[in-house]
Symmetry: C2
Subunit: 182 residues, 2 copies
DNA sequence: AACGATACGGACTGATCACTCCGCTTGTCA
DNA sequence: TGACAAGCGGAGTGATCAGTCCGTATCGTT
């Protein structure tokens, strides 16, 4: 692969990330090309389809998030770690358009396109949840599926909730519901 | 207004409701016209804009929902009534595409297009919430805003959650979080 | 330096869609 | 029943956008 090609590919990914974050998945490919300082042809040479480009940045974002999340599994307070992770994901969803949709797809449409990356995050959450249940800091009768639905819901709602305090409050209520009755 | 005009207007609304429920807001106006057994011109004569048509069916759905919800304010168990209402809205969101978005807009983008209709539902929820807090069946420190965020989140997540049991479980967790600690 | 392969830019194509316009039909009322 | 306004259908218009194609520029290699 030629040097300029590699450089342009990276530029396109970077531009796509910000454009999709700002305008959502409906942003035009031309806008991405413009932002990258590149012709449309170049975009399509590197990513044969708009969907492929979109998927590429989804994978990118997800693997970054999953990578940051992984160390949490070593935490002594798994429920707390889970909550921190959720807070981080919720903030990302509030800030970057279409990230909430990504989270919804990863959380809920399990057989989704890019499987491995979503699994990684899901696995981390599963580990934390198990540990928290064992520790007695999360109710034993809630499963991963429920938690994923709640996470997706919080992320999707966050997209329309500019006030961070309010997002935090909603998260608090959910975690109160996850805590075992005393 | 001529008899056939009134009849066609109703047909268009009916068709739009099912088409938007099936395909979401991106469904084409032509599809609505076809489903209504009417020319496109007719659709645009009654609703000058696709957006106007969409807004009309949003208002329609919302006022139906708000109307059904209103009697609940008389309930002796306001927390239970609130939960029933949420369950109903969540089911609707799971079944009818774009209803979840409507709920999100009504819940979160307060200054939205069709104000009065959203207010009606919001008022009912506020009344139930107040009563429940007074009765001590909902924590005193959660406000309407938080509840609306949670409702929107549950509805948005429901759109991707075909399993009704799972939706119900998620709702349970949220309501557990709303219940005062014993 | 010179040459072939690789990559680039952006005009172009075809499809889709919201919306318009006008010749024709149908309801209404005298 | 006749006449005319109100309403209808759907071909047409312009805009947008994903994706193609090819003449040109750039890179790497000998």
């Amino acid at each position: 692969m030629r040097a300029d090609a590699r450089r342009n590919r990276e530029r396109v990914l970077e531009a796509a990330e910000t454009v999709f974050a700002e305008q959502g998945a409906t942003a035009s490919t031309e806008e991405v090309a413009r932002r990258a300082g590149v012709g449309i042809g170049t975009v399509f040479r590197h990513f044969p389809t708009k969907e492929a480009l979109y998927e590429a940045i989804v994978v990118r974002r997800l693997s970054r998030v999953a990578e940051q999340a992984q160390p949490l599994t070593a935490s002594a307070d798994p429920a707390g770690a889970l909550r921190d992770l959720f807070a981080r994901l919720i903030d990302e969803a509030a800030t970057k358009k279409a990230f909430a949709d990504t989270m919804a797809v990863v959380s809920l449409d399990v057989k989704a396109a890019a499987p491995a990356v979503g699994d990684q995050l899901r696995d981390t959450i599963a580990t934390l949840l198990d540990a928290a249940r064992t520790a007695g800091t999360v109710r034993a009768d809630v499963g991963l599926a429920e938690v994923m639905v709640l996470l997706a819901g919080l992320c999707l709602a966050a997209e329309h909730t500019p006030d961070p305090t309010l997002r935090e409050s909603a998260l608090s209520v959910v975690f109160a519901g996850l805590t075992p009755p005393s």
